[in-house]
Structures are given as C-alpha cells and as structure tokens.
C-alpha cells in the first residue's frame, strides 16, 4: 500500500519568492484501490505525482510503500516499488514501441542494460494487458495520443510495481479512449492488486472510476472520501468558482457534475 504522510513541497529558493506547492498532504491508497486526486489548475496535482515519485525533492514528510520509506532508497530501488504513467508528450519518437516498453525494466537491469528472457516476457505481457501487442514494431512517434498513453501504461506495468501513479492520463483523449484507458486501469488495479493514485481533471470520470476521491486545493487536501462525499455541489462550487449541479448517474447512482456557469450565471 501507498502512504503519503504530511508531504510538503516548496518552489523557489529564497524566502521572499518561496511558496508551498504542497502543504502537509496525507493520503493513503490500499492495494486494489483507485484514489483519484482532483482539484483546480495549480492546486498541486502534478506536483504531488512528481514529489511522490521522487523526481521532485520534498521539503518535509515521507512516502511509504508497504511500510518502506522511499527517501531511504536509491532511484533504482524506488522504481521497483512505484511506477509513473506521465502525460504523453515529448516522447522519443524514433524508439520502437517494444523498445520503449522494455525500458520499463530499467530498475532491474545492470548498467549496460542487458535484458533477460524474463524481462522480455514481462514487456510482452504488459503490451498484451494494455491491448497494444500489435503496436510493438511501430515507432513511438507514429502513434496517436491515445496509443502513446497506452504505451506509457504498458511501460509502467513492465516495471512490475505494487504502486502505480498516473498524471492526467486522459487529458488529450477522446471519449472512447478515455473510457477504454480508465477501464483498463480499473481492471489492472483489481486483478493485480495495484494501489493506484491517479490525477484526473474530469470530475465525472473521477466520480465513475474512483474508489475514493481527494480534492486538492492550493496544495492542501480539502476533502477525501467516497465520490458521493467529496463531489458535493457546495464544495465544488466554492472550489472551482463556478456554480454546479450534482445529479445521480442514471445507471450507477454516482454523482454527475453539471456546470451551470453559462449566460453569465454567477455565484
């Protein structure tokens, strides 16, 4: 399981320009559970992913995977416990898809990068699980946004970690690709008992796919709980500065968020 304890991150070096991007954030994710982090732009959602993954140094607090403090570990040991699916942009276009996915095995490889048959079978399995096996010989640069995002998910699966972080994986995807990717994440979380921490912009997708939702505002956790507890009209209206209606989903009863800001309707 993933435990984030009182994590604070600051940007800027000297005191006058220094500000806290994350302040005392505490969250935990159980194996098999999807925790979705939502919040307005600049709330610190991506910063949270970067800090938890160790790509960004934190000011204080700690991140534990199955009880081990990641700060005590090397980059290689860390990435055997926690994999990140970044936003698909600026990927090395000339690499083949298979090569890119195989690089998910980096934490287990030596300096020269010699791969074993086990590494290859795990990379193939990750491609199968993400329904991308037929893409294996294509170049990364030739893929659509949705395919690239699937490849990054496959790379993270090849890393074979108990914890998976995803940073707005649906941002540039259309409706079909959004739901197929999130269905995949849902399935993998249940089958492989992954603890999934996912940042999403879309409140309705968050409501549909999350076991629990954390609402991040100005670097602090404003609320965390079941979608129905966190996605309330009152909270969302005040946080996003736009009046919203929340109605139950016709099939699942989960909250659906309808913005009501048109024609200058204001608070």
């Amino acid at each position: 399981m993933l435990e984030i304890q009182s994590l604070s991150v600051s940007y800027g070096k000297s005191t006058p320009t220094r500000w806290l991007a994350l302040e005392q954030v505490s969250l935990s994710v159980q194996p098999g559970e999807i925790l979705v982090v939502i919040g307005p732009n600049g709330a610190g959602k991506s910063t949270l992913i970067r800090a938890v993954s160790g790509a960004l140094p934190s000011l204080s607090g700690s991140v534990l995977v199955n009880g081990t403090d990641l700060a005590q570990l090397s980059a290689g040991q860390r990435s055997r416990r926690l994999a990140v699916v970044p936003q698909a942009r600026q990927l090395p276009a000339a690499f083949s898809v298979y090569q890119a996915v195989l690089m998910g095995r980096t934490p287990y490889l030596g300096w020269l990068g010699q791969t074993s048959s086990q590494d290859h079978s795990l990379a193939r399995r990750a491609l199968e699980q993400t329904l991308s096996l037929e893409l294996a010989d294509r170049r990364v640069g030739e893929l659509s946004g949705g395919e690239q995002q699937r490849i990054l998910l496959a790379r993270a699966l090849a890393q074979d970690t108990p914890v998976l972080l995803l940073d707005e994986p649906t941002t540039h995807l259309d409706l079909q690709h959004q739901s197929s990717l999130l269905n995949l994440v849902r399935k993998l979380a249940s089958e492989k008992k992954l603890a999934v921490l996912m940042v999403l912009h879309d409140l309705n997708l968050a409501s549909l796919y999350a076991d629990r939702v954390a609402l991040l505002v100005a670097g602090k956790v404003r609320a965390c709980g079941l979608p129905a507890e966190v996605l309330t009209a009152q909270d969302l209206t005040s946080v996003y500065n736009v009046p919203v209606h929340v109605v139950p989903h016709p099939d699942y009863g989960s909250p659906l968020i309808l913005p009501d800001g048109r024609f200058g309707a204001s608070l």
């Binding site: 000339a94 980096t106 490889l109």
Partner: protein, 342 residues
C-alpha cells in the same frame, strides 16, 4: 543476429579501407602489395625479405602510419563524443565544436603551453589534462547559460556555444600573439593540423581516448533511458544526474585528448552520429560504437583530401570538415526544425 553485426562489419571495413588509403597516398604513392608486406614485416616474429627501398618503409612506419592512427583516434573521439553530447542534451545539434567544448579544450592546451607546462615527454602526456580542464569548464558554462528550466533548447545551446567558443578562441589567439615563436606554430595546429609527427602523440593521446570511449560505450543503455527526459528517467530508476555527469566527463575527456594533438576540428561529431542514426537507428548502444567507427573513417578521408587537394601544401583538416560539415549542419537544422525524426 546477422542483422545486428552487419552495420559493424560495414563500418569496420570502411575504416580499414580509409586507413589503408591514408597510408598509401601521399607525395610518394605506395602500391597496395608493398604496403601490405611492409606492414606485415613490422609484426613481431614475421620475417619478410625486404624488396622495397628502405626510405619507403621509414615513411610508412615512422610517418604515415602514426599520422593515420592519430587521425583515426581523433575522428573516433569526435564521433563518439558528438553522439554522447547529443544524447545527454537530447539535442540533435550538439557537437563538440558547435557547443564550444573543442575551443575550450584548445584554450586549455594553449594556456598550458604558454605557461611552459613541463617540457619533454611528461609535458606531452599531460597536455590533454589541461585541454580536459578547459573543456570541462566550457561545458559547465555553456550548460548553465543555455539551460531554460529543465530543458536545453537548440537555439540557446547553439547561441551559448557560439558565444563561449568565440570567447575561448579570442583568448587563445591573444595567448598565441603575445608569446614566442614556438607557440605561433600552434595556430596551424588549432585549425586542425597535427603539431608533431611520429608515434609520440599517438601514445600520448591513446590512454585518454581509450578510457573516454570505453566509458561512453558502456553508457548506451543509460542514454536510451535518458531520451524520455530526466524526470521519467529518474522514475524509471536511473540516477539521471550521475549519468549525465559521467557521460559529459567521458565525452569531454575524449574531445580534449583529440583537440590536444589534432586541433579544433568541427562537424565530425555532428555528421558521423547523424549518418549512423539515419542508416541504423537510434539505439545508443549501437549508435555510440558506430559513430566512433564512422568518425574515424570520415576524418581519415577528410585528412586525405586535405593532403592532396593543394599538394604539396597541406590544407588544415579543420577547413575540409567545416566545408563539408556546415551544409550538413544546415540540413540537420532543417530536419530538427521540422521534427522529422528527433
């Protein structure tokens, strides 16, 4: 498996051919058969009755062969370090010359000569160290000048490289102008002509180039992972800062050793990796060795051209590589602009 070996074979064959051509062609043309027998007779334990004039053997063994090997090592160093810089900076236009490292190394070497670095053999063997210090300092300055946030855009890299290179070159010229006659000879060397002949410079450059190239050869996988960007590399378990430092040190060491004895030669580090990439793909584990082999071949051919085009006068090889390299540079720039394959 056959597919994996083929590019190495092709490159090795080209290199051997270029090496043979370089030794055979000059003011005195040496026939292939004679050349082969002279070379074989130089091997220990083989006795061939010499049927060639003694001075021909001396030309081959004392002049042409060491010169060709020095040129080959220089080309391999420039090709390998060019590929490495391109990989670390994730920038297709990184070349030891264009980013100013070569000029920095030149300044280091000339400075060492100007302050009368220990003379004799010891001095010869340690001039690459001074060149390395110059190169390392340059890369630090260029890198910090060109960095925008977490990335290194092509434009700022080239601008910073040009500025720092110009600065280093003027300091070098100043040092040479105010010093004695001996150092003025360095002017020709700086433009890419060797200062010394015989085996001594080969032996002086060999340990540095070998060490640097071996370190680079081992860094292919790390450079591959780094192509996803530093952040993703860290998330994939690569200690990105350490990798970058190691590769930059190794590339600067090889560049410095090459510059210390062959002068500031541009564009080999640009052309060789790009041709290898075009023909055999982007995997750095393969790209690095192929760039080294190709760099050696390219510089041998450029040097050959430099020696015969105005014979008996020798054109600085740096002029030849720049003449071929500058148009190539523009071509790569266009491709990079259109994001064709980078």
């Amino acid at each position: 498996m056959k597919k994996n070996i083929q590019p190495y074979l092709v490159n090795l064959l080209c290199l051997v051919a270029a090496l043979a051509l370089s030794v055979a062609v000059g003011p005195v043309l040496i026939k292939p058969g004679v050349l082969l027998r002279i070379l074989v007779s130089g091997l220990p334990g083989i006795a061939i009755q010499p049927d060639w004039p003694e001075n021909i053997a001396a030309i081959v063994q004392q002049v042409r062969l060491p010169h060709a090997i020095l040129i080959m090592l220089t080309g391999a160093a420039l090709g390998g370090s060019g590929a490495a810089y391109q990989g670390v900076f994730r920038n297709p236009l990184a070349d030891p010359y264009l980013i100013g490292v070569a000029s920095g190394a030149g300044l280091g070497a000339v400075f060492a000569m100007a302050i009368h670095w220990p003379n004799g053999l010891l001095g010869l063997y340690t001039i690459p160290v001074a060149a390395f210090l110059g190169a390392a300092l340059t890369i630090l300055v260029v890198y910090s000048l060109a960095r925008v946030g977490g990335s290194l855009p092509t434009t700022t890299l080239i601008l910073a490289g040009v500025a720092v290179s110009a600065f280093a070159s003027s300091l070098t010229s100043f040092l040479m102008l105010r010093s004695n006659q001996e150092l003025r000879r360095a002017l020709g060397w700086l433009m890419g002509g060797s200062l010394m002949s015989g085996w001594e410079p080969v032996l002086a450059v060999l340990p540095y180039v070998l060490l640097g190239l071996l370190l680079l050869l081992g860094s292919g996988h790390a450079l591959n992972v780094l192509q996803f960007g530093e952040e993703q590399a860290i998330q994939l378990g690569l200690p990105a800062e350490r990798v970058k430092a190691l590769v930059l040190i190794a590339a600067s060491l090889t560049t410095a050793a090459a510059v210390a004895f062959s002068g500031v030669i541009g564009f080999i580090g640009l052309m060789s990796p790009h041709l290898a990439r075009l023909l055999w793909g982007h995997d750095y584990r393969r790209l690095l060795p192929l760039s080294m082999l190709g760099g050696g071949t390219a510089l041998l051919l450029a040097d050959l051209l430099a020696r015969i085009v105005l014979a008996p006068q020798v054109v600085p090889v740096g002029l030849v590589t720049a003449l071929a390299g500058a148009p190539f540079f523009l071509w790569v720039l266009r491709r990079a602009k259109n994001q064709v394959y980078w």
